[in-house]
Amino acid sequence: MIAKSGPKRWVSSVDAAARKSGLRVGMPAAKAQALFRGLMMVDAEPHLDAAALERITLWALTQYSPIVAVDGLNGIVLDTEGADHLQGGELPMITKIANQFLAKKLTARVAIADTWGAAHACARAISRETVIVPKAKTAAAMERLPITLLRLPEKVVGDLRTLGFQAIGELANTPRAPLTLRFGPEIGRRLDQMFGRIGEPIDPIRTPELIEVSRAFAEPIGAAETINKYVGRLVVQLIEELQKRGLGVRRADLIVEKVDGTRQAIRAGTAKPARDVAWLTKLFRDRTEKIEPGFGIEKLTLVAVMAEPLSDVQKVSSLIEDEITDVTPLIDVYGNRGQRVYRMAPVASDVPERSVQRIAAASDPLTVAWVGHWRRPVRLLPRPEPITAIALMPDHPPASITWRGKRRKVKCADGPERIFGEWWQRDAEMEAVRDYFVIEDESGERLWIFRAGDGVDPETGDHRWFCHGIFA
């Protein structure tokens, strides 16, 4: 890709094949053509790139974090503090981000670090897709990275190179005064920002469609009760706005702007579009304790980043009995606390471990359930445990088994219940058979055991015995 700046044409980005033949970013276009004949050159369109980047940024705003901004020409910065729990933690979150870009055939580099500067440098330095810099390990991680990643003007970087500086660590360990005398305060500021010595607030991106209510305070507030009071009022305002437009909120952010210019954001998600004052207030009040007021809060902003249409429905009269409680608010409370909330649903499969699946707790009722009157154990072991059994082949239950080091005499048993492998799942299951038995020992403990194979044909299994569940 070729960019033009004034009369100069230079290489602004290269693909893997071009990089192999020696092309580098920043090279004059003529030199690139000389290096490789038949080079395909595409004119860069920076305004289109910028527009696409902004689109991605807005998407990230609804998906991942309340505070999102465009970072330079080719990056997005997200403040994920207090928002990663909705995605199940930091690692699942960045993996998901990388995968979503991969699905669109884009390669993304994702890094999480303590500061914007550190994350910026890491994301551009790594060769794998994702990296997480552990808390308070920034200095060690940044030491070897090149100074180009310090977000300094190109001229300063060039001059520093001339002086022999290559890595950020070297620069950080150099006395500050001569550097400032020579290059101005910029180097010191960038270094401090990277190591978190001075704050670097992210100015979040906003679109006009976002429904936003805010409240600025003449005197900074800090007490938990005061915060709660104003959050309650903001929620009422937001609900009124949503009501006018017929929307319900799916994801809302509370952005706390403090006196010292830093921002903190709390994100709450709901399983269904919501327009209920008590419900939303509860979700935020639940986590007021997470707000660190510091020197005081100047402004509270409540934004509905993701809203969906929610039409009015007529409620059934209270004269009719049998009102079913809507548990969605409770599901949201659990979800925002980072617990895994789910329901169980049947899957049409005879193999026990495949016959259940987890579904979202707020999904529609299924009405179907598992059919069949065959006994099923209350506890299913995570994976079948090998046991030794003394049994008469082919279709008698064992006379005694040894499981977890304890020998049990089988007093009575039921079976076999034969379950066939599912050849449409895996080729290896083409012939596979399991023969399940319910056995009871002398003390009354009931176990679910099976034999791999039908007891005659070695093709169907190797005739080993396993314990798979515990009955009540």
Binding site: I324, T325, V327, P329, L330, I331, V333, Y334, R337, Q339, R340, V341, Y342, R343, M344, A345, P346, P352, S355, V356, R358, A361, P365, L366, T367, A369, W370, G372, H373, R375, R376, P377, V378, R379, L380, L381, P382, K411, C412, A413, D414, V438, I439, E440, E442, S443, G444, E445, R446, G469, I470, F471, A472
Partner: protein
């Protein structure tokens, strides 16, 4: 004087006593009476429980016996049977997701009714249970717990009293030796131990209907008792096994109780 008159108490006197009891319980502020009870439908068991059943709006605690202290299979099924007979959604809080739902369907618990809340930490289970109890409108909140400290159980009991939701704590330890913890006092209204017993004998080879040995180890304002019951049927009901355990027979008392 009063003691001498007591045996020959007239109907009027018992009315007065009943009235006094009601007023005392009103003073104590327990709303259990208002929330009502869930009867087992077994006269012998309901008779020993004050109010004639497991009270809604109270914490009930269940533990297994023997290997059941670790796997908690019978305990979970017993709790599921009780939950199945309540009305409304069920919240089931746990840390070890090894419950096999088809078995719970067989005691009358429909998968649409049960919302599982899985957490990494044991303390979160207590917090989640309390949140569910204070939400109101649920049928029952079940929690699988290793430890149930006095303060935690008190909080659960109070939250349950406030909304009239039944709280069922299924105690499940990591090791069998840790189960002596069940002797520690908690604020629960009833405490049960469910142990598996050899199943009913059938005239043909096979495993009959499961039997449990049910020990009511503690009940507020009631006596301890023991029963030999047949496990939950497809509606979650238990019934007394024929050849019922004689409650006064000391020979059958479990070594665990007391």
């Amino acid at each position: 004087m009063t003691a001498a008159r007591a045996p020959g108490m007239s109907d009027g006197a018992s009315d007065v006593i009943a009235d006094l009891r009601e007023r005392i319980s009103a003073l104590e502020g327990t709303s259990t009476r208002k929330a009502g009870c869930l009867a087992f439908g077994v006269p012998e068991i309901d008779a020993v429980l004050p109010g004639g059943g497991l009270s809604h709006g109270a914490l009930h605690e269940f533990a297994g016996g023997g290997a059941g202290t670790v796997d908690g299979a019978a305990t979970a099924l017993f709790a599921a049977g009780i939950a199945a007979r309540t009305k409304g959604p069920i919240v089931w809080c746990l840390t070890r997701p090894d419950l096999f739902f088809p078995a719970l369907t067989q005691v009358g618990l429909h998968p649409d009714r049960v919302i599982f809340v899985e957490s990494d930490k044991e303390e979160d289970v207590l917090a989640n249970m309390e949140e569910g109890l204070s939400f109101g409108g649920l049928g029952a909140v079940v929690g699988e717990l290793v430890r149930l400290p006095m303060v935690g159980s008190r909080r659960l009991q109070l939250a349950a009293e406030r909304t009239g939701t039944m709280a069922l704590a299924v105690r499940r330890w990591r090791r069998q030796t840790e189960a002596s913890d069940f002797g520690q006092p908690t604020a629960s209204t009833t405490r049960w131990r469910v142990s598996v017993m050899p199943s009913e004998e059938l005239p043909v080879p096979g495993v009959g209907r499961a039997k449990w040995f049910l020990e009511l180890m503690r009940v507020k304002a009631g006596e301890c008792a023991e029963f030999l019951v047949r496990a939950c049927d497809e509606q979650g009901r238990i019934d007394l096994s024929t050849g019922s355990a004689d409650r006064s027979d000391p020979a059958r008392r479990s070594v665990h109780s007391g």
